[in-house]
């Protein structure tokens, strides 16, 4: 089976980039190839211009990956876990940054708790902290908010947005399309290992039809009907026609185009 097929992508420095696609599209495989966890049969990957195979040490120092799976080492506390991760990246005295990361992720109160004793949401925060201990310029978040409560989700996005503002490149995969729409400036959509769309979020949204207007009408015999109008242009004419027929308008709903429509159109086709 071919997990990825001819994927060519260039993510700019400082971008907040979204990688979307249905289950099995190849998002995590692509991240694993970038991170060196999987090896591609052909092709090359460079992180900040450094080849991930030829100079893997340099490339990995520039990359922080939050894995999708909720993995942890049950032998250690949160602080030990972060110290160990710092050491793997060759950083000896990292206490100040570890404290800062823990503070932003609301982990300070759990610093000396064993990883086993943490809730799923807390473990997710530690995974994010582990990816940040070496201050990587590129941060890859693979489904970072899966199974996470609203409070953490908001705190996480605030922190990640700040990191992006500070110049970090963020690569995000998520099933919550509203999160991608809100945060990502550019998006690639994968389907069966191929890139089926690569554009700015704005252009992708503009590529689907404009707003959809749903008019709830009450006929003379008292029955209710729905009338769907694509785009504002046709609205005035339709309303005039309804008024001429003496139909009563009960309600009007406005539905703006969203990433879900783009996603469904591209991945279902």
């Amino acid at each position: 089976m071919r997990a990825l097929d001819g994927v060519t992508l260039a993510i700019e420095r400082g971008e907040f980039f979204g990688l979307l696609g249905p289950n099995g599209a190849g998002k995590t495989t692509l991240i694993n190839v970038i991170a060196g966890l999987a090896r591609a049969d052909a092709g090359t990957v460079a992180v900040m211009g450094t080849d991930t195979l030829a100079d893997y040490r340099r490339a990995r120092r520039m990359l922080g990956v939050v894995p999708q799976e909720l993995v942890f080492d049950p032998f250690f506390t949160v602080r030990e876990t972060l110290r160990i991760q710092s050491g793997y990246f060759g950083i000896r005295d990292n206490a100040a940054w570890i404290d800062e990361v823990m503070h932003h992720l609301d982990l300070s109160g759990k610093a000396d708790a064993n990883m086993r004793s943490l809730s799923g949401g807390m473990k997710r925060r530690v995974l994010i902290a582990q990816a940040l201990v070496h201050k990587p310029p590129v941060i890859v978040l693979d489904e970072p908010t899966a199974g996470v409560d609203v409070e953490l989700r908001q705190g996480l996005w605030q922190f990640v947005t700040r990191l992006n503002r500070d110049g970090h490149t963020i690569v995000l995969t998520t099933h919550y399309l509203e999160e991608a729409e809100l945060h990502c400036s550019r998006i690639a959509m994968l389907k069966a290992g191929r890139v089926v769309a690569l554009d700015s979020t704005r252009n992708l949204l503009a590529s689907v039809a404009g707003s959809r207007i749903t008019v709830h009408v009450m006929a003379r015999d008292g029955t209710q009907h729905l009338l769907q109008i694509e785009g504002h242009a046709a609205l005035e004419g339709e309303l005039a026609r309804l008024r001429a027929q003496g139909v009563e308008i009960a309600d009007i709903e406005l539905e703006r185009p969203d990433l879900e429509q783009v996603f469904l159109r591209l991945t279902k086709s």
């Binding site: 060196g36 966890l37 340099r58 990995r60 049950p74 032998f75 160990i84 050491g87 793997y88």
Partner: protein
């Protein structure tokens, strides 16, 4: 720095559960000594002028060193693979050489810690002399490194706990028990003596015992060469697998 951290992490890992990883194997070795020492003391003399329990202790010490060195690297790797936390090592800028040596060095430390524990607990009951201590130290170090490397190999190749358990129960345990821990291979019939010579564990036990009694079934220099060669072979195999990412990177 990456090597030091991985090495320190591996030490901390077994130290945090030292009752299970150090104290329990020391107790097991002492039980062997009590049972076999009591039953065979006075009935069996292997070396001239050496009581059976004195002969047995170095064998038990070395057996503990070897089994625990293997257990350390193999169990750590398989646990990390099964729970998935090995990803933190694989994502880091750690070379395959650093990876290998960190696991082997931590295994050596655990093996020596358990061996030292067995030795310390038995010296009060059994008369021991150290005729050639350097030989004992060298065999303990190289033997532990060989078993630590074998543990790395088993940890890489195994995908499930029962695969590792099979390796431990059907390869490591018989090779250790049939290596002359409890007897001299000179007491075996010719065929089994020949079989014992094909067992690399025999050379480690015999060489280590030489450090205590300055007498052995096989010349210690040749034994050391065989053990070193075995280590180099296993190390080369491990490094090849680690470099290729076999069963670690997809």
């Amino acid at each position: 720095m990456s090597f030091r951290t991985l090495f320190a992490k591996e030490l901390l890992r077994f130290w945090k559960v030292s009752v299970q990883t150090v104290a329990a194997p020391v107790l097991t070795a002492l039980l062997y000594l009590v049972i076999f020492g009591q039953v065979l003391e006075g009935r069996l003399q292997v070396f001239e002028g050496v009581r059976y329990s004195s002969f047995l202790v170095p064998g038990l010490v070395m057996m503990s060193v070897l089994q625990n060195a293997f257990a350390n690297s193999s169990s750590s790797l398989i646990q990390s693979k099964i729970t998935g936390n090995i990803v933190f090592i694989l994502l880091a800028p750690i070379s395959y050489l650093e990876f290998f040596w960190a696991y082997v060095a931590a295994s050596v430390v655990r093996g020596l810690a358990v061996g030292a524990g067995v030795l310390a607990c038995t010296t009060g009951f059994v008369e021991l002399r150290l005729e050639a201590p350097l030989w004992a130290v060298v065999f303990a170090l190289v033997g532990a490194a060989l078993l630590g490397a074998l543990g790395v190999l088993a940890g890489i190749v195994s995908e499930k706990i029962d695969q590792l358990a099979a390796f431990q129960n059907f390869v490591i345990l018989p090779l250790t028990m049939l290596s002359g821990v409890f007897y001299s291979i000179h007491s075996l019939p010719g065929f089994w003596r020949g079989v014992s010579h094909a067992n690399p564990f025999f050379y480690m036990i015999d060489g280590f015992r030489y450090g205590f009694f300055a007498t052995s079934d096989f010349p210690p220099g040749v034994s050391l060469a065989i053990v070193l060669l075995s280590f180099l072979t296993v190390a080369a195999l491990c490094l090849g697998l680690l470099k290729s990412g076999y069963k670690l990177r997809t």
